[in-house]
């Protein structure tokens, strides 16, 4: 078993029976479900909207070369420096190079999952820079030295009491556990950082080819300030974030808001197309956009699963996933958790190491049904299972072969089958004595579940009886 698989199993075993964790997650998800459904109902045709969104992303992803070239050309025309990174290391080096060049000390960041993906914070801190996450949830998990729990709600797993204790310990400022008071503590602490910061780093939700602008969706205003106050601005964005036209945002911004947080539109949807332009009052003197591949082209090469590049990171599939809700966000051990993370991580980080995620699913299809861009998530999990065990990559083990060698003749001979069933009934009774313990042969199952008994009478026996 790969190290990530062992980690997943251990954490899942610990978190799933934790009723306190379950309570916190169910409360948060319950609130989300109510508002999400209210907002969906306001659409004249939500299923139609999903079709249009899927179509738009299909066009964007399947003509990625054209759109990406157009995006770069247009944003460069307004004085933006565009950088290209094939992998995480190149992206980190590009950004560290800019920081060195600008002699930066304090860096303020707004939420960017791509920066988690390339472990940017570690690299910057290691190089001696002070790095501050400004999204409240990200700030909280940064203070806890933890990765985000969820794509959209990074601190979803914490209670106000835990956050109060954290602020008291780290900031020495926590008047009460009232969410408003706690938010104001963070606001005050981060205002100072905004005024000090030399460089602001953001992610992006969309990159518009036709106009050469990026679009950032947020509620707090932290990305607005990150893009307004420091003298240098850097945006790190995956190459798959392309949308062809500006008007595509008219559909995608509300859909992202509805599925992400259950809002009609998120508080700030802001488009950036360059550094401060002539005649403008403020804004950065320099603007850098780092376009990141990091195995996205590997996923692109898989035509069957290419639609997964259309993901808008709304987190809706995490929210409905029975596995996510039980094992929690940290158990995945990946930057992108939940169904979408289980689909794309094997492509981004290696199929054999991460194939266990394909089984972190009940295949119920709730993810596929909710996805606003109609990614065929649960079928992709099946395809990953198939690909992971394809003859060239994985061969059945000796025990698997032996099991089938025995099973085949037994299943093929009615008399032998009948005898085996009879013996099994006796075996079941004996097994019952050691149910669930270490010497129970069905322990892998019975440790956490009941084993249903074999029927007292087989169908053949019943049929014979009726015939008398």
């Amino acid at each position: 078993m790969s190290a990530p698989a062992t980690h997943f199993n251990e954490d899942a075993r610990r978190v799933a029976p934790d009723t306190r964790h379950r309570g916190i997650i169910q409360t948060a998800m319950g609130k989300y479900e109510v508002v999400r459904d209210q907002r969906k109902l306001l659409f004249q045709d939500w299923q139609g909207a999903r079709n249009l969104a899927a179509r738009t992303k299909f066009e964007a992803v399947n003509h990625l070369d054209t759109h990406l070239a157009e995006f770069a050309r247009n944003i460069e025309a307004r004085g933006t420096k565009v950088h290209w990174a094939s992998n995480a290391e190149q992206a980190r080096n590009i950004i560290l190079g800019i920081l060195r060049d600008k002699q930066a000390k304090v860096i303020v960041k707004s939420k960017a999952m791509t920066s988690e993906e390339i472990h940017l914070n570690d690299a910057m801190e290691h190089a001696g820079y002070e790095v501050v996450e400004s999204d409240l949830g990200e700030y909280i998990v940064q203070l806890r030295k933890e990765p985000p729990y969820h794509l959209v709600f990074p601190a979803m797993h914490l209670t106000r009491g835990e956050i109060k204790d954290l602020f008291q310990k780290k900031l020495n400022d926590a008047p009460s556990d009232d969410p408003e008071a706690l938010t104001m503590v963070a606001r005050r602490a981060l205002r100072k950082k905004y005024l000090q910061a030399d460089v602001g780093i953001t992610g992006a939700n969309f990159a518009i080819a036709e106009t050469g602008i990026i679009s950032i969706t947020e509620n707090e205003g932290n990305a607005r300030l990150t893009a307004a106050l420091p003298k240098t601005m850097i945006t790190l964005v995956g190459i798959e974030k392309i949308l062809p036209r500006l008007e595509d945002l008219a559909l995608f911004l509300p859909m992202l808001a509805v599925m992400g947080t259950g809002q009609a539109l998120t508080c700030y949807n802001t488009m950036y197309g360059g550094p401060r332009q002539p005649g403008e009052a403020d804004g950065p003197e320099e603007y850098h956009v780092v376009l990141l591949d990091n195995q996205r082209t590997t996923l692109l090469a898989d035509a069957e699963q290419r639609d997964a590049l259309g993901c808008i990171r709304c987190g809706a599939c995490l929210n409905v996933c029975p596995i996510f809700r039980n094992v929690g966000g940290h158990t995945y051990g990946t930057v992108y958790g939940g169904p979408i993370g289980s689909v794309i991580t094997p492509h981004l980080r290696g199929l054999q190491q991460w194939k266990h995620l394909s089984y972190a699913s009940s295949l119920c299809g709730a993810c596929t049904e909710t996805c606003p861009v109609k990614i065929d998530l649960h079928h992709h999990l099946l395809q990953n299972r198939r690909n992971a065990s394809a003859p060239t990559t994985g061969k059945p083990s000796f025990l698997q072969k032996l099991a089938f060698k025995i099973f085949a003749p037994v299943a093929n001979k009615p008399a032998l089958w009948s005898l085996t069933t009879k013996l099994s009934r006796i075996g079941m009774k004996l097994r019952g004595l050691v149910n669930g313990s270490a010497i129970d042969p069905a322990q892998a199952w019975t440790k956490t579940r009941d084993l249903p008994p074999i029927a007292k009478q087989s169908f053949r026996e019943w049929w014979k009886e009726q015939g008398k």
């Binding site: 938010t183 008219a250 539109l265 508080c267 950036y272 197309g273 009052a281 069957e304």
Partner: protein, 220 residues
């Protein structure tokens, strides 16, 4: 070979295998967008009513004022109840005149300013590019609304709009942005939908996370 070329080569190589769409192909038209999105009223009155309802749901304040005199009175009342000491604004006849009329020290952003000074301001007063009925949104740009920070750094953002700036929906707003700016886009275009908020602590709504706690929209 540059990294740019490497990336483009991998993309082109990947796209030699064709994918199939289950949802049709071709980019949707604006009419198709409008056909699925939340409806907006047909008449101007209905759209104003929708904007007002959305603003109130978002905990923003929206007021129709009949003339400059009423606007001055409203602003003075706000100044007195909130005890404003310093005001930030920008060079625009509508915003600057009313800001100066308050008789307080006033920061004007256009020719550059010290960010520490703006942080001390109690209110940012700006104009906007449009109001969007469908979502209760205020559309601002760095070119027309005094830069990037004015509508976000002070704890109260006051928007002065004109009645004819109301557009029906998001497709109309993007069409307008394209029409006005396609030759030369401003470096920032922001769709502001209510005052700054967060739900990051137990998904409980708190206003004024980083941006303004209050958003007031006056419409002449």
């Amino acid at each position: 070979m540059s990294e740019r070329e490497n990336i483009f080569n991998r993309i082109r190589e990947a796209l030699t295998v064709e994918a199939h769409s289950h949802n049709g192909t071709g980019l949707p038209t604006t009419a198709e967008h409008r056909g699925v999105m939340p409806p907006v009223g047909a008449s101007e009155d209905e759209r104003f009513a929708l904007f007002a309802k959305n603003a109130s749901d978002l905990k923003a304040t929206f007021k129709l004022v009949k003339d400059a005199g009423e606007l001055t009175a409203e602003l003075r009342a706000l100044r007195d109840t909130e005890k404003w000491q310093r005001v930030a604004t920008h060079k625009s006849p509508l915003a600057q005149t009313h800001a100066i009329g308050l008789g307080l020290p006033t920061l004007v952003t256009d020719d550059g300013y010290d960010k520490h000074d703006m942080e001390q301001c109690d209110v940012g007063i700006s104009v906007c590019d449009a109001l969007i009925a469908q979502t209760g949104t205020v559309l601002v740009t760095s070119r027309n609304s005094g830069g990037r920070a004015l509508s976000c750094l002070p704890p109260h953002h006051v928007v002065i709009a004109r009645r004819e700036q109301l557009v029906a929906d998001l497709p109309a707003a993007f069409a307008m942005v394209k029409k006005i700016y396609s030759a030369n886009y401003p470096s920032m275009i922001s769709f502001i939908t209510g005052p700054s908020r967060t739900g990051d602590i137990e998904r409980i709504l708190v206003l004024g996370a980083h941006g303004p706690k209050k958003l007031t929209i006056f419409c002449l």
